[in-house]
């Protein structure tokens, strides 16, 4: 029976429409995974010596921070690890025992990269411990405990799925604890460190993680089994319509029709909500630069880079997928009496309004000096004047349908991977950086800012020209786009 499951999985993987077309992405993902393995492996081998050099007791330091590692892993999993619900519906009617289906689905998660990537850290690290003369039995107990915790995370993620608030609160709690520890108010690790250390010293506490793993796995199994009905875990969620008639948007004239739709699209779909959430996160991106937290970002033109990013979160994350947001009903749009120009203008308006508000929200950056605020505002002008066009231009080449109802994949979607889009996106960042650098190194920062702002303003003047160009692309690519949007995921 397992053989049949495996053969189904094999076919599902190799026959998915995304498979052939996105080889480049697959390679990139493999590359990313390799980097991860290298980092973790490097840390596994080197961490002990690094900590030793820093005059810390390596093993107990690791035991101090391992709690953050585990919680971080859980949150990352929630964001990234996919749930094994695929292909279950058709199996329900076939003569498989339900427990078998659940076991297989859960078994699949056990094999996920999310679990075994940690081995690249823990195995070398344990070997180093042994080499350094730590008690072998204790190291094995500790290692086993870590293994149990990682797998417990795996199963927790199964029934955590959809409990966004819980994950957020755990994340917020631990962020707060981290701060509290950093500033010396309260140290959670004072309680957790002895436990993790005790795993090595007394060995017998290893039964706790083992018990945890067994409990959590059982809960996950039961949770899954109980929801194996079309009206429970496999059900589509029905939500009540919300939001008013948005009449206040009528002032935008012809564009208001589309603007209303876009606002509803953003408010009512999981995928777009995630995008908006991300663009809010972008607002904080500047902290990395302006606080000097990351050294490589200290060059003068990096300030411009940050400024463009900070106000452009929505512009980049939402804008790059125009018109794919409308992919589900693209045939409707193509047969209705729609002027492309109005359609584009409404998207443009949305991007500009969002960028404007982001810029206003960025005003607190004045804390880091006038200089920083000016950089952010100038970056916003460039975003509105030039980048809004470029983003729409790049989007015209994107032909991957967006599944509005799925929240996943918002981080680094394959559709953003396309040589043409990449070429169009380069100037979005490099442009303002280069302009600023020219001004900065000839006359001074003032000219740098002025240049960026002026080019941004000039961009406004060419809006209609750019739109004509985009419309041309839309028209020539129409049939290809329609055909591509038809292919579901």
């Amino acid at each position: 029976m397992v053989k049949q499951f495996l053969s189904l999985e094999w076919k599902a993987f190799f026959r998915s429409p995304a498979f052939g077309t996105n080889l480049a992405l697959k390679i990139l993902m493999v590359f990313g995974a390799l980097m991860m393995v290298l980092y973790l492996g490097g840390a596994g081998v080197g961490l002990y010596f690094i900590l030793e050099k820093a005059d810390l007791e390596p093993f107990s330091t690791v035991n101090t921070f391992v709690i953050y590692y585990l919680v971080g892993d859980l949150i990352l999993r929630y964001v990234g690890q996919k749930m094994p619900v695929v292909n279950i519906k058709p199996l329900l009617l076939l003569p498989f025992k339900k427990t078998k289906i659940v076991k297989f689905a859960l078994g699949k998660t056990v094999l996920a990269f999310w679990n075994w990537m940690h081995a690249f850290f823990f195995i070398p690290f344990s070997i180093v411990l042994l080499a350094k003369g730590f008690n072998p039995l204790g190291v094995i107990a500790w290692h086993l405990a870590m293994f149990c915790f990682i797998y417990a995370n795996n199963f927790i993620n199964v029934f955590l799925n959809d409990k966004l608030w819980l994950v957020f609160s755990v994340g917020a709690l631990f962020a707060a604890l981290g701060f509290a520890q950093y500033y010396g108010y309260f140290d959670i690790t004072a309680f957790t460190q002895p436990f993790f250390q005790g795993l090595y010293e007394y060995m017998w506490p290893v039964i706790f993680p083992i018990a945890l793993l067994v409990t959590v796995a059982t809960i996950a199994f039961k949770y899954f089994l109980a929801r194996l009905y079309l009206d429970a875990g496999l059900a589509k969620k029905v939500s009540e319509a919300s939001g008013g008639d948005l009449g206040w948007l009528d002032r935008f004239g012809k564009q208001s029709t589309f603007l209303k739709n876009d606002i509803r699209l953003i408010m009512r779909n999981k995928r777009s909500k995630t995008t908006v959430f991300m663009s809010v996160m972008f607002l904080f991106y500047g902290l990395l630069f302006f606080t000097g937290a990351v050294e490589v970002y200290d060059g003068p033109f990096w300030k411009m880079f940050a400024a463009v990013f900070v106000s452009g979160g929505f512009l980049f994350s939402f804008g790059q997928f125009v018109p794919s947001w409308d992919s589900a009903y693209y045939p409707l749009m193509m047969t209705q009496n729609i002027a492309y120009k109005d359609y584009l203008k409404s998207k443009w308006l949305l991007l500009v309004i969002a960028t404007f508000f982001s810029a206003i929200l960025c005003i607190p950056y004045i804390y880091f000096g006038w200089d920083v605020l000016i950089a952010v505002l100038v970056g916003a002008i460039f975003n509105m004047g030039i980048n809004a066009h470029l983003v729409l231009l790049g989007g015209a080449y994107i032909k991957t349908p967006i599944d509005l109802q799925s929240g996943k994949k918002a981080f680094g979607d394959k559709s953003s991977f396309n040589l043409k889009t990449l070429l169009v996106s380069l100037p979005k960042m490099l442009g303002p950086m280069a302009l600023y650098a020219i001004g900065h190194f000839t006359v001074g920062p003032t000219l740098g800012y002025a240049l960026v702002a002026i080019v941004g303003l000039i961009g406004f003047a060419f809006r209609d020209k750019v739109f004509d160009q985009i419309i041309k692309i839309y028209k020539t690519e129409k049939y290809k786009t329609l055909a591509a949007y038809k292919q579901t995921k």
Binding site: D245, P331, T335, L482
Partner: protein
């Protein structure tokens, strides 16, 4: 109103549609029947400029659909759920289509008032998104939306499929009423021979992409079509 000229469509050398040409005069109610794969949806997709024909072209209201977009102002269509916007409520969707067709809310509301029976109190005022409606109700919304803005050409692909018997009968009434209007050209495809012979004045049968019958509906048509489709019936003993 609509003229098909030497239209063909092939994918990788396989011809799925090959029509010498025919004309649909203004005001005619035109039925398209044929088995799966006969090319009905392909023909409609060509007519709506959603796919490019391999050869030939279609004219709608005097314009070639793949060259000018002027036909969009007088043509309304419902092919499948990709013509619906899932995250809107039915009302919002109707108003959206109304906006695109130059009708204000009051116009749309006046039109919708005629369809209270048809909607069976399951669509208006329910605060549900289109994506959460049943397939049948989605279809009702799509069909009624084609009537907004009094278009001259209405194209419906398989309008009777997925509908309950009561709704099928009501829909027949609606299409008959549209068809009786000499200004409106209605194109309907269907697998249901009885329905299509009841509502259409003219019926074209496609088989494997070619036109095999083009008949003006008469009382004998249903029998005629049934005989045709039963033609190579397997006798099961």
């Amino acid at each position: 109103m609509i003229t098909v000229h030497n239209l063909s469509k092939s994918y990788n050398g396989v011809t799925v549609l090959n029509l010498e040409g025919f004309e649909i005069p203004k005001g005619q109610s035109f039925g398209l029947v044929g088995n799966n794969g006969a090319g009905k949806t392909t023909l409609f997709s060509c007519l709506l400029d959603l796919i490019q024909p391999s050869t030939g072209y279609i004219e709608n209201g005097g314009v070639k659909v793949n060259e000018s977009e002027d036909w969009k102002t007088h043509t309304a269509s419902f092919i499948d759920e990709s013509f619906l916007i899932g995250y809107l409520t039915p009302e919002e969707y109707f108003y959206f289509i109304g906006d695109l067709r130059g009708e204000n809310k009051a116009d749309v509301d006046a039109l919708l008032a005629n369809f209270e029976d048809f909607f069976n109190d399951e669509i208006i005022g329910k605060r549900k998104y289109l994506r959460d409606l049943s397939k049948g109700n989605q279809k009702k919304v799509g069909i009624v939306a084609t009537l907004i803005g009094s278009p001259d050409v209405i194209i419906l692909d398989e309008p009777f499929a997925n509908l309950d018997p009561t709704t099928q009968i009501r829909l027949k009434g609606i299409i008959k009423k549209m068809a009786s209007d000499r200004e409106v050209t209605v194109l309907v495809s269907s697998h249901d021979l009885q329905h299509v012979t009841e509502v259409c004045e003219r019926i074209v049968v496609l088989e494997k992409g070619t036109l095999v019958k083009d008949i003006i509906t008469s009382p004998a048509t249903l029998k005629d079509l049934e005989a045709y489709f039963a033609g190579n019936e397997l006798v099961v003993e």
